[in-house]
Amino acid sequence: MPTLDVSKKDFEKLFKEKVSISRLEELLEYVKGELDGQDGDSLKVECKETNRPDLWSTEGLVREILARTGKEKGIKKYVVKKGNIEVFINENLQKVRPLIACAVVKDVKIDDDFIVQMVQLQEKVGETFGRKRRETGIGLYDLDIMTPPVYYKGFKDDEIEFIPLDWKVPMRPSEILSQHEKGKAYKHLLDNSKLFPIVIDSKNVVASMPPIINSQITGKVTNKTKNLFIEVTGFNWTNIEIALEVMCMALADRGGKIFSCKINFPKQNFYPSKSIITPEFKTKKISFDKSLIEKKTGLKLNDSKIKQLLENARYNISIKGNMLSAEFPAYRKDIFHAVDVIEDLLISYGFNNIVPQKIKMSVVGSQRKEVLYADFVRDGCIGLGLQEVLTFNLTSKEIQSEKILLNDEFVEIVNPVSTSYQIMRKRLFPQLLSFLSKNKNQEYPQKIFEIGSCLDLDSNEENGVKQSNNLCVVLTHTNTNFTEIKSVLVSLCDYLGLSLELKKSEFAFLGENSATIIVNGKKGFIGELKIGVAQNFGLNKPVTLFEIEL
């Protein structure tokens, strides 16, 4: 979910109205936005619309809010003048990064707010919408330094070098990927490629190596820049078109004039035509029976109200009979279905203007049997004077394996936050020993229990694991011994009405007085903890325990 830096003054300038903070918070509800912080004029706005890159700038927020508040309505028209710049895609990029869409925006007045917003929008669109630049990489250039036409072509490492942004000497692509900060961050996007995509002009001046880095010469936008060349590269035409339009709209909202570019495709089946003009600012239409609105929302609205609410959400609406047709900009990739349009209608209507209704449904509730049973066992345990403890499922191999002298396999995480939380517990007792090790200053005797899930690998199960609900009781004090722990187990089984069998056995972590227990056919163990194992947990009083599967 993108968090945006917004200048309040800049917002007010674009919105053409001064707003208080509380008013601003209300307005942000229209864009699923929330004020996440304020430091003087600088605001942090969290935008929950993860599929709407058009909103991720001050310009975008204001564009939407202008319509929601009735200051504008319907799809915003952007004039695209026919430009004279041609871009040629080389056939050698088809397997590398085959698509590019471009535009020119002239007469932009670049100030600090502008630069902050452009960098931010480029960043958010490239990172969040563009899946960390894989789907869309965006470049902005000073058009007046470039000499069109522009070529988008793959070069081998030894065929090209240029000075990347914030660098002083020319570098080869491989050097950029291994040494430059951005190169290192995004080098996986060009892994396994012998060709590096390059945007280069007719005088062989390199503009950039998408989607990694611009060149220092043309790829630096400053407050002296007047005319911008924009390119977006990627794999999917819809996505790069959206990114390009989002950038152009924001620039045009600040007074820039948009000019189109002609993209010439190579003669390969992969490409749909010989050429295409970008940006297109296409629209899409979705039609549905307007009765769906009442069915989904419970609101009885007449046609003009429906029309008004949806125009406030920047749709162009026509209603013929029962059919409603909603036209929307093609960059609204979040609209899959009529329900998406209906949500926009509800947001215009205002959620808090709707009267909530009680659900009348005669149904019977119930708890899961395992949960009820666990609580039954829990009652028995507290009757025995035991204190319930809750520990995490996520734990370490050290606790679950090394310290208890067992070599074992666990459900294991690829990307743990730390080795302390690398595996899922297989047994409860090591977690309880770890708990006791942190409470040696507390009064003895210490008598604790836990009821919780444990995981073991099991390839027969649909999710690869056998999940059991275990009960573990641990006692520690100077005089605890096998008799004491056994009497806890026996009394508990008696209360629970369970049959119990004990057979003397050996366990790596239990001393001589230990046994396998079978409770209602399920296995467990009971005994006195080995002194060595207790010491591994820093425990210096005798410890007895049992663990069974419920």
Binding site: K296, F336, V339, L346, M361, G365, R378, G383, Y421, F435
Partner: protein, 478 residues
């Protein structure tokens, strides 16, 4: 006097009758029914009330330290060093000698110093060599002295201070307590022997606290929330810890290239890594939802959906994964479902974040449900479960619901808090899984509510590692 005697406890009375004018050890009075701890406590009380006095004498004792025990077993470090040097041919480097002697650096330094002082070895140009002096005047073997210490025999002051310096012997101080009767006690003895005096309790005095067996406060809280939902007609769903991404994401219409599905935002499993998907009909329905919208009048995401990605296993990241499973396995309608599910997210463990936490969520399914019912249900939850005074709704986003809502509740003490998220399950899910009617999905942030009800500021106390906290925690009643 009589009043004071009346208040004496049984064990005080027993003890007062046994002591006399000579100094006596506590252990003289203890037996199977009168433990040494009871004697100690009774003696303390009698002394406080001036029936008797306690006389303390301190004594010192010497013990072998762990190192001392080792030296006794393996030999003194200086002897080990000298023997090792002889074994190695009488001359070697520091490093070689230390590693082969098995002594740690400190022991080795001391041992070398002793041998040097006695001129048994000399050090020149980084080598240690024997001088042969030890053949004429061998060293006193201190291990004999160690043996004496262990046997509690007397040793010379010189030896003692050397052994203490070297950390081979440790000094411990013991305090011995003896009890002797005072005049007031003698008077009391007479009265107690003469007639029976019933005990009178001081009703205001402090009594010992009993450590009772208790449930974890968090479990108690969750159980009551659970009962509350059941009372409202909700049926509990199965919520396993490990699920396939199919349930965690795909059924929920979350596209496979969504950033939430990358390693930085979600856990992935090393083992087991792949699960089994349900039957082909279901898998194809979900594939269609993603690729073309399937049976729903939807555009779908328009990409090629992969079974491989869907079958990856993950620790459940949100409770909605279990609603997804329920929808796949088949539901009744109308019906209300819920789960209280353990969820996992890579995060930093601190006072406000847990790596694993509980989510309470579910859905209500039936014909003739609309957005107003969704708002109504959330409002009921906020008022009945959280005790909210006022509620406010905000537009929200979830990949699997449209429309989506967030509810903020005004709590009398906490002020406005984000309490619940909800929405109507997307038609891409319901229609492709053959669910008729509408389904209202909801989730409630119960951990925050639990913290409030339990009166804790640090979320880690839900899984408290502090036995003292658990023992002192009050019972929870919603």
């Amino acid at each position: 006097m009589i009043e004071e005697i009346k208040q004496l406890s049984d064990i005080e009375r027993i003890l007062i009758l046994k002591i006399n004018n000579s100094k006596q050890s506590f252990s003289d009075f203890s037996n199977s029914s009168f433990s040494i701890d009871s004697v100690r406590r009774a003696a303390g009380w009698l002394a406080k009330k001036e029936f008797a006095e306690i006389i303390k004498t301190e004594s010192e004792k010497y013990f072998l330290s762990i190192k001392g025990e080792q030296a006794l077993e393996r030999g003194m470090p200086e002897v080990i060093l000298l023997n090792k040097l002889k074994e190695l041919g009488g001359e070697t480097s520091f490093k070689e000698l230390q590693s082969s002697s098995g002594l740690d650096f400190k022991e080795f330094s001391i041992a070398l110093g002793i041998n040097k002082k006695n001129a048994f070895v000399i050090i020149s140009s980084g080598k240690i060599s024997l001088t042969g002096v030890d053949n004429d005047s061998p060293l006193t073997d201190l291990s004999l002295v160690l043996k004496k210490v262990k046997g509690d025999e007397k040793i010379s002051q010189n030896d003692l201070s050397e052994l203490l310096d070297r950390g081979l012997v440790e000094k411990k101080t013991f305090v011995d307590r003896k009890i002797r009767i005072l005049q007031k006690g003698i008077d009391a003895q007479k009265i107690l022997l003469e007639k029976k005096i019933d005990r009178v309790f001081d009703v205001e005095s402090v009594v010992p606290k009993i450590l009772i067996g208790k449930k974890s406060p968090y479990v108690q809280f969750l159980n009551q929330i659970r009962s509350n939902l059941v009372a409202h007609g909700f049926e509990e769903m199965y919520s396993p810890l490990i699920v396939s991404e199919f349930y965690n994401f795909d059924v929920l219409f979350q596209s496979q290239n969504h950033p939430a599905r990358t390693l930085s935002d979600s856990y992935q499993l090393k083992q087991p890594s792949k699960g089994k998907l349900p039957n082909k009909k279901i898998v194809d329905a979900i594939r269609a939802a993603h690729e073309t919208g399937g049976k729903a009048k939807s555009s779908g995401w328009g990409y090629k959906w992969s079974e491989e990605i869907a079958s990856r296993l993950v620790p459940a990241m949100h409770g909605t994964a279990h609603s997804a499973r329920k929808l796949v396995e088949g539901i009744e309608s109308p019906k209300k479902y819920f789960s209280i599910a353990r969820c996992f997210r890579p995060d930093v463990l601190d006072a406000t974040h847990l790596l694993e936490f509980n989510q309470m969520e579910g859905f209500v399914v039936g014909e003739n449900l609309d957005f107003r019912h969704l708002l109504g249900m959330l409002k009921d939850f906020a008022i009945e479960i959280a005790g909210a005074e006022k509620v406010k709704f905000f537009p929200d986003y979830y990949p699997f619901t449209e429309p989506s809502v967030q509810l903020s509740a005004k709590h009398p003490e906490l002020g406005w808090v984000e309490f619940a998220g909800a929405g109507m399950f997307r038609p891409e899910m319901l229609e492709n899984l053959g669910v008729k009617g509408e389904a209202i999905a909801w989730g409630i942030g119960i951990d925050r509510l639990a913290m409030f009800k339990l009166g804790i500021k640090d979320i880690r106390y839900l899984f408290a590692e502090d036995l003292g906290y658990l023992r002192n925690a009050k019972g929870v009643l919603l």
